[in-house]
């Protein structure tokens, strides 16, 4: 059974702006998929619908056997806990330090503090941010912010990892590093969808590439 299945998904804003139009998609467990398309193609909207931040106009999302049409409101947090996401707009808890920004991702799961501390310390080391443990997000460089965003998404070993423009605004070195990290977690078994508008990122990738344009899957 596939991990993520999207059936006839559509999202129309204000009855006229079509963000997604009849999107059908099936992603297997452990797969690495690139969602490629220009700005405004509907990549971010698709991610927002997958994490149930917004409701689709029509269609269905099935993640790990749970349908967006049947899920009860109080079960939505559990649904989201299966997903780790790197947001395009790099959202952080700006008044909290790096440790707390990572810890929150585990605390929402109800993890014990001892385990939280252990996991955060390990993950910070893994992404090379150990020295920034007590810094605030605003004190980090763009590359470090992306690493933090990546770390927060994968710290709780999600079933599905969504990365929305993970290399946007980064230099070649940092882009390669982030891509390397993404490939590494995929090789460890996590299903990954990377949304990007950078062609160089998908070049020579041994992964499935889905092209999205004007809200439709074109390839």
């Amino acid at each position: 059974m596939s991990l993520l299945k999207i059936n006839n998904l559509a999202k129309i804003y204000n009855h006229r702006t079509v963000a997604l139009d009849n999107v059908n998609l099936e992603i297997e467990r452990g797969e690495l998929v690139f969602l490629f398309g220009p700005n405004g193609a509907g990549k971010t909207t698709l991610f927002k619908l997958i994490i149930l931040d917004e409701r689709p106009t029509s269609g269905e999302i099935i993640l790990d056997g749970i349908s967006s049409l049947k899920i009860k409101a109080k079960k939505i947090p559990n649904f989201r806990q299966k997903i780790g996401m790197m947001f395009q707009d790099q959202r952080f808890l700006e008044k909290k330090d790096i440790f707390e920004n990572l810890a929150i991702s585990l605390r929402v799961l109800g993890e014990r503090e001892k385990r939280v501390t252990k996991k955060v310390t390990e993950t910070l080391g893994w992404v090379g941010l150990s020295g920034k443990r007590n810094s605030l997000p605003e004190e980090l460089s763009d590359g470090e912010r992306q690493k933090l965003s990546f770390a927060r998404a994968i710290i709780r070993s999600p079933l599905l990892f969504l990365a929305d423009e993970p290399t946007s605004g980064l230099d070649t070195l940092n882009s390669s590093y982030i891509l390397e990290l993404i490939q590494k977690i995929n090789s460890l078994g996590t299903t990954v969808i990377v949304a990007t508008n950078q062609f160089r990122l998908i070049e020579n990738q041994p992964a499935r590439v889905i092209r999205l344009d004007s809200g439709r899957i074109v390839e």
Binding site: P77, N78, R80, Q81, M85, I104, G110, E113
Partner: protein, 283 residues
């Protein structure tokens, strides 16, 4: 422990909006202080009333023509009515002696007889020292044979009790008004904090946090605001009482348990205020 995390987060909210929350605590403290002042008056009235009630006695004047056996029988009848702790017979001679002691020998100089009646002085049991109980007992004694008249502090007993009831009622009304004001204060402070933190709260929500996880620190923060307001008001009224005691008045401070009641009321009011502020986010 999750509770430790929530409490820590609740205190961190103070740092996010320190001015708003400080104003909220001060408003609660001064509102409670107004209530405390009124309650202090009531408390002192009650103490005064209790003290006066302790001293209350009924004097039953006897008809002049009673023979000793009738006096004894009347004493028995009074004791049977219940509520009397001690009954003391005061003869005509003793009454005259007392009067002379108070007003001097010359007062009744022209009279060749003793006009004062003999009487029974009744001390009452504790539960019978209230005006309605006294009235009931008095009306029963009046109906007994051999009783000429009765004397007790009817006017001041009922006046004081009326004042006390009025004072309690005033406290209750004031308490409700101040409670509502404080709730609204906490509501607006928490609402402002939540609105200003919307971005962070949205992020936590998207990470899979349940509503209880997101909102519990705000609920606790409201309760802490109320509790701190209540405690501060106690300190203020304590200081004010000291000042008044050393200044002009002799007042009794509120009982020790009042600080616990004030803090708990603060918690409750803060909790209600927070829930009202979070209602929109909970639904």
């Amino acid at each position: 422990m999750r509770l430790c995390y929530f409490i820590k987060e609740a205190f961190l909210i103070f740092l996010e909006e320190p001015k708003t929350i400080l104003v909220s605590i001060l408003v609660i403290a001064f509102s409670f202080l107004v209530f405390n002042l009124f309650f202090l008056v009531t408390w002192n009235l009650k103490n005064a009333s209790d003290k006066l009630n302790q001293e209350i006695k009924i004097e039953v004047f006897l008809k002049d023509d009673l023979i000793p056996s009738q006096v004894d029988s009347l004493k028995g009848s009074i004791l049977k009515l219940g509520g009397v702790k001690k009954i003391t017979y005061k003869s005509k001679f003793q009454a005259l002696k007392e009067m002379k002691r108070y007003f001097g020998e010359k007062l009744l100089e022209g009279l060749d007889f003793n006009p004062l009646p003999a009487s029974f002085v009744l001390e009452l049991k504790e539960p019978y020292k209230k005006s309605d109980q006294i009235e009931r007992l008095v009306s029963k004694i009046k109906q007994l044979n051999g009783v000429e008249d009765l004397e007790y502090g009817k006017v001041w007993v009922s006046k004081l009790e009326r004042m006390l009831s009025l004072s309690f009622l005033l406290d209750l009304i004031l308490g409700i008004i101040i409670g509502i004001t404080s709730i609204l204060m906490v509501t607006s402070a928490i609402r402002l904090c939540v609105t200003l933190q919307k971005g962070s709260l949205d992020l936590i929500r998207l990470l899979g946090a349940k509503k209880s996880f997101i909102l519990t620190p705000y609920l606790l923060n409201g309760m802490i605001q109320g509790g701190l307001g209540g405690a501060s008001s106690w300190v203020l009224i304590w200081g004010l009482s000291l000042l008044l005691t050393y200044g002009f008045f002799r007042i009794e401070f509120l009982p020790g348990v009042s600080i616990i009641i004030l803090i708990l009321s603060g918690f409750l009011i803060g909790g209600i205020g927070s829930l009202l502020a979070l209602r929109r986010f909970l639904t």
